[in-house]
Symmetry: C2
Subunit: 237 residues, 2 copies
């Protein structure tokens, strides 16, 4: 597949590049099991993530001013702990646990795929994660980004148009010189409507074995790939 | 030298990491000599750079709204060409030549020094260069930044305090968890006054053999180094 105008690939990160679910389950377990708590840790991870879209919607709707995803993750963790009557964590322990989102492991194909794609394209995050979160995630997983863009650049959250357009503008590129790479149909539809090229990466186990959404490309995207190394292969990187 | 609180090194780029002067002279010559122009190319590079601080000052003073350094470089090039009665370049050729600032070569020690420092620290740009400029510069010279910060993050220009503080905040760090690395005394004094640690790198030939300013550290910085590899050595990287 040749898309000669494309100069930059902009990436969704949670689910597309990193496996947040098993990593968060591991982090929750490491923090809570020593104190005697027993949970279905994957389900607890899903509960924490469950607060994500409602929190973003508060910002997208204008009901509250822009705050970083680190702040929202922290708030949602405090709620999660309260709901399950977990009261013994200190403030600094809660802060440390809220940074579990800085320690998500990449999918096995991610580092090789990104490294190959980086040889031919600018590769940048276009995630709802803030800069500190994305930088620490990159350090944890050796993700070789050229730039950290996305939500914090424009103080907005996907799928608000300005989140995509602000990242393209920061790169000095037109939308059609950028390709959005994501495992989520909605993300690609939103980017595509603004003129971005669209590249779907299938992650049918992001939400576990029973996943029912985003198990395949539902639209005619420019590319549909099974992994980031498969994407690199299709782009001849 | 051990500075245990420091988690991120933030870098001045023009002069500290890349050799803008000989690179710009080369680019000007490549663009203008084929049409029969003859110049002292290094002096012409100095003239172009001479418009830099006055243009920034227009923004810093509030006389004009924030615009990117790419825009200011372009405007200053148009003035430079007019001053020397160079009229035959097309708009797209002027645009291409204005991007000479995307093609500056790193000092010989820069890539090795940054790569070693990156093993232990977050390394980020804290330059007046905008994101597109810094990303393209990194691609040109294989500079392994973890993040592109600086002027465009806060829509301000050094040495305005918000340029430094906005970059530290984007990393989720206090100023004293960041160290400014620069070849310019003023840059380090400004960062130090805000609580940053300060690391001087000597570049006595940035402005050529007759350089009279910034030929040595004039203040008691945390570190004074002769190169980025020397800085890595002093930080035990």
């Amino acid at each position: 597949m040749s898309l000669p105008a494309v100069k930059a690939l902009t990436f969704d990160v949670f689910g597309t590049v990193v496996d947040w679910r098993t990593s968060i389950a591991r982090e929750l377990r490491a923090a809570l099991e020593p104190a005697g708590h027993e949970f279905d840790w994957l389900q607890l991870a899903d509960e924490w993530r469950g607060g994500y879209q409602p929190a973003l919607e508060q910002v997208r709707s204008g009901a509250r001013p822009w705050v970083t995803l680190d702040v929202l993750h922290h708030e949602n963790l405090v709620e999660l702990l309260a709901k399950h009557d977990i009261a013994e964590l200190s403030e600094s322990e809660i802060e440390e646990l809220s940074h579990a989102w800085w320690r998500l492991d990449p999918w096995p194909d991610a580092v090789e795929g990104l490294s190959r794609l980086k040889q031919r394209f600018i590769i940048a995050t276009l995630s709802n994660g803030n800069i500190a979160l994305m930088v620490n995630l990159a350090k944890h997983g050796a993700l070789p980004w050229d730039a950290i863009l996305g939500a914090e650049i424009s103080h907005s959250y996907k799928e608000q148009p300005i989140t995509y357009l602000g990242s393209a503008e920061a790169l000095g590129l037109r939308p059609d010189e950028c390709a959005m790479v994501a495992a989520h149909n909605d993300d690609l539809v939103a980017a595509g409507a603004l003129g971005f090229r669209t590249m779907y990466v299938n992650r049918p186990a992001e939400h576990g074995p029973g996943q029912t959404t985003d198990i395949r490309a539902l639209h005619d995207f420019d590319i549909a790939a099974t992994s980031l190394t498969d994407l690199a292969r299709q782009l001849e990187c």
